[in-house]
């Protein structure tokens, strides 16, 4: 953008003409200018909007009188501007569509340079809404002040007050209290419950004058009364003899002629009816409004009371849940002090009730058998705000154990944060688990014993066999049985009834096998690289049988005078979870036997155990072929065997 060479200077005439005009055009207030006779020569945008015109409408040239409701009001205003030079006040405007509004007006006379009046300038503000709010506020204030007095006199002048409320006795009491509050001298008021078979309406006054009893099915009365006030409107009659209600009036009693019924609205539905009745005088619309207002107040009071009641119910409900729960529940301070607990919890800990426990020991830490459990729990509470249920052992009053499923969470909502804990007694379950474990242990033990008996039978046979060539076969059988038996023997001793420390097993298997060959081959040197990890027995048994075969082969072939057999066994879990079992010896190797196809029982079994049972792979070779071979230790490059498998195709069963 380029600027003109000579910038025009801003004269006061320009100000008048351009800027002031623009200010008027865009002002929020409405502005209008008329000539001295009252004919419009200028209006701004806000003026048009306020009066409901569009810029296309012909407004200029029209008389200012056209825009006000009353010429009688407008005339003096115009006169006052002309004579006094200004006027300020409120006028009722008429919009283009005929509707009216209240405008605050400020008008003044405009003179030319010679001091001759040439125009009238007015500004306008629509004050309809603010006037309405102020009026309603005043009315409400006035109304509420008058209300109690009006109600009082209405109820006192009436001979009966009816009310039909679906609510419970609290609602009745409340309604009665409300009536007392406005000092209505109502002696008896009967409220009937829409669900009751029969209900009564008593219409007595406190002084006992007049009265009677209406008795009819509550549901029918309710329906009829509700029908009289459709959609929540107030119903009034000064001759109820013309209505269905007449049928309700007791024979022989003073007749009530005048009746107002107002609905009690709750949650947008008619929940009850409030009514007043009298014999003489009749009611008017003011009475109607009064009873309607009172019904409105009563609705609010009932609603509020119902909420309070729900709250009280809720509190007592939860208290009752707390006290009667079978689950142990307690509240504990962050410092570890018991604040509250239920009887269930106290009984679990061996106390008569919560009271006895609270009077004995409120330090939570004293109940833990292992204080580390509490520290762990507190850590979780601090970091996560809750501790998921865990099995924790507590000490009972009698010194016995309470095994509990125990969880806790931090109660942040309260003014003083505390820990809510809940606990289920699982001591019985633990005992059953323990006895199940004992049974499984016994079974392992018996299995092992039976295997030993089988082994003993073979041993006996062995002693009686005249043919020495049968001996090795029988010893092999005994060793195979022993390899399996060892698994059961170790499981029987182990805390875990399904898994074994594989390294420990290999160590014992080696010792056991060496012992069995002690007389034939007393000096075998073992190098064991055993990484500690556990494995299910389902994997340990085949591994044990494989190792037993390999060991047997090594000892048989590597053992001759002058040589020290060396056996290297490595077990480890590889980074991908695969289990690696590597075996090497310094014997003569497989010689001319191909271990991959050999049909001997031992090698066939080894292949099947690795591939079929362990679902793994097996590789036979010369130890010197193996890149991991420890040169020097195995100088002669004996037999090697590597098994790889994943221990994931069986699951824990005990």
């Amino acid at each position: 953008m380029t600027l003109p060479n000579s910038q025009p200077s801003l004269s006061s005439a320009d100000l008048d003409r351009s800027i002031m005009r623009r200010a008027l055009d865009t002002a929020i207030n409405g502005y209008a200018v008329s000539d001295i006779h009252g004919s419009l020569v200028y209006v701004n945008h806000s003026f048009l909007t306020m009066w409901g015109y569009t810029p296309d409408d012909e407004v200029l040239g029209r008389s200012v009188f056209d825009f006000w409701v009353s010429a009688e009001e407008c005339g003096p205003v115009v006169a006052s501007v002309r004579n006094a030079g200004a006027w300020m006040g409120e006028l009722e405007g008429r919009k283009k569509d005929g509707t009216t509004f209240v405008a605050q007006v400020s008008a003044s006379l405009v003179h030319n340079d010679e001091g001759v009046p040439i125009a009238m300038l007015s500004s306008f503000l629509d004050v309809t809404e603010s006037r309405r709010i102020r009026r309603e506020l005043n009315a409400t204030l006035l109304h509420s002040e008058r209300m109690a007095g009006t109600m009082r006199s209405l109820f006192n002048a009436s001979e009966a007050v009816l009310a039909s409320v679906e609510f419970n006795s609290t609602a009745r009491v409340l309604l009665l209290e409300s009536l007392k509050l406005i000092q209505a001298e109502i002696g008896i008021i009967s409220l009937f419950d829409g669900t009751e078979e029969l209900s009564e309406i008593l219409y007595d006054k406190a002084d006992g004058s007049g009265g009677g009893v209406l008795t009819m099915p509550g549901q029918r009365l309710q329906t009829m009364l509700t029908g009289l006030c459709p959609g929540g409107s107030v119903w009034m009659s000064n001759d109820i003899g013309q209505t269905p209600l007449a049928a309700l009036l007791p024979v022989g009693h003073r007749e009530l002629r005048n009746l107002i019924l107002a609905p009690l609205i709750m949650n947008s539905t008619i929940a009850g009816i409030l009514g007043v009745a009298n014999h003489d005088g009749g009611f008017d619309t003011i009475d109607t409004e009064t009873i309607s207002s009172f019904a409105g107040l009563a609705s609010i009071a009932l609603k509020s009371e119902q909420t309070q009641e729900a709250l009280r119910d809720s509190v007592s409900h939860y208290r009752s849940l707390f006290e009667n729960a079978l689950v142990g529940i307690a509240r504990v301070s962050l410092e570890g002090q018991l604040l509250d607990l239920n009887d269930s919890f106290a009984c679990m800990l061996g106390y008569k009730d919560a009271h006895e426990l609270m009077a004995t020991q409120t330090r939570v830490s004293t109940y833990y058998v292992d204080i580390a459990d509490r520290d762990h729990l507190l850590d979780l509470i601090r970091t996560q705000g809750f501790a998921p249920p865990r099995e924790i052992r507590f000490r009972r009053k009698d010194g016995g154990d309470l095994w509990a499923l125990y969880g806790a969470s931090l109660e942040r909502g309260a003014v003083n944060p505390s820990i809510a804990v809940y606990c289920i007694d699982i001591t019985g379950r633990k005992q059953v688990e323990d006895s199940n474990k004992a049974l499984v242990r016994e079974l392992y033990h018996r299995t092992k014993n039976n295997m030993n008996v089988i082994s003993a039978m073979i041993g006996l046979q062995l002693m009686q066999t005249p043919d020495p060539s049968q001996r090795p076969m029988m010893l092999d059988l005994q060793n195979r049985i022993a390899a399996m038996s060892l698994v059961h023997q170790m499981l029987y001793r182990s805390a875990d009834l399904s898994r074994l420390d594989f390294a420990a097993y290999v160590r014992e298997l080696v010792a056991q096998t060496v012992q069995s060959f002690a007389s034939d081959c007393p000096d075998v040197h073992f190098e064991l690289e055993l990484e500690p990890f556990t494995m299910l027995m389902d994997f340990v048994v085949p591994c044990g049988l494989i190792l037993n075969e390999l060991l047997t082969n090594s000892i048989k072939h590597a053992c001759h005078p002058g040589a020290t057999p060396v056996v290297h066994i490595s077990v480890r879990r590889l980074p991908d979870g695969t289990i690696g079992l590597d075996y090497r010896d310094n014997g003569p190797g497989y010689g001319n036997v191909d271990p991959d196809t050999a049909t001997t029982m031992g090698l066939t079994a080894v292949r099947l155990l690795a591939v079929h049972q362990l679902q793994g792979t097996i590789r036979f070779g010369c130890a010197s072929d193996d890149e991991a071979s420890v040169a020097g230790v195995l100088p002669r490059g004996g037999a090697s065997c590597s098994v790889r498998f994943q221990d994931d195709h069986y699951e824990e069963r005990v």
Partner: protein
């Protein structure tokens, strides 16, 4: 000759032990299955060594039977057990036995007792040995 009593309720196991010890040249009494019979036979036969299983048929366990025998006779006790329960083991070891063997007993590995079939018979347990 060293006289041995075997107390073992598993007949086959008892038979094997009997044969092994006999083959080693010991004078082996007929094995018994209960603590009561063990006490009775021991008091009559006065063995030098008692191979005692811990869990037995009958009411009396091996430890009690061993105690009753010990109260009368200075026998060498060799406990045999498949149970590793601390309780049994502790009670057995408290009696200061000559040996405490895990079952199955590997005779070939017994110190001072080389009973392999190809070993020369006649080696006895009479030489004092350390207890396990």
């Amino acid at each position: 000759m060293t006289k041995v009593l075997i107390v073992e309720d598993e007949a086959i196991s008892a038979l094997l032990i009997q044969k092994k010890l006999a083959a080693a040249g010991l004078d082996v009494l007929p094995p018994v299955a209960t603590g009561e019979k063990a006490v009775e036979l021991a008091l009559n036969e006065k063995p030098d060594i008692v191979f005692m299983d811990i869990r037995l048929a009958g009411r009396m366990d091996g430890i009690e039977a061993a105690g009753r025998i010990r109260a009368v006779l200075p026998v060498r006790l060799i406990f045999m057990s498949g149970y590793h329960d601390g309780d049994f083991r502790e009670r057995a070891l408290a009696m200061n036995p000559y040996m405490y063997l895990d079952k199955p007993v590997v005779f070939e590995s017994l110190p001072g007792l080389c009973i392999g079939t190809n070993a020369a018979p006649g080696r006895s347990l009479s030489a004092p040995e350390h207890s396990v």
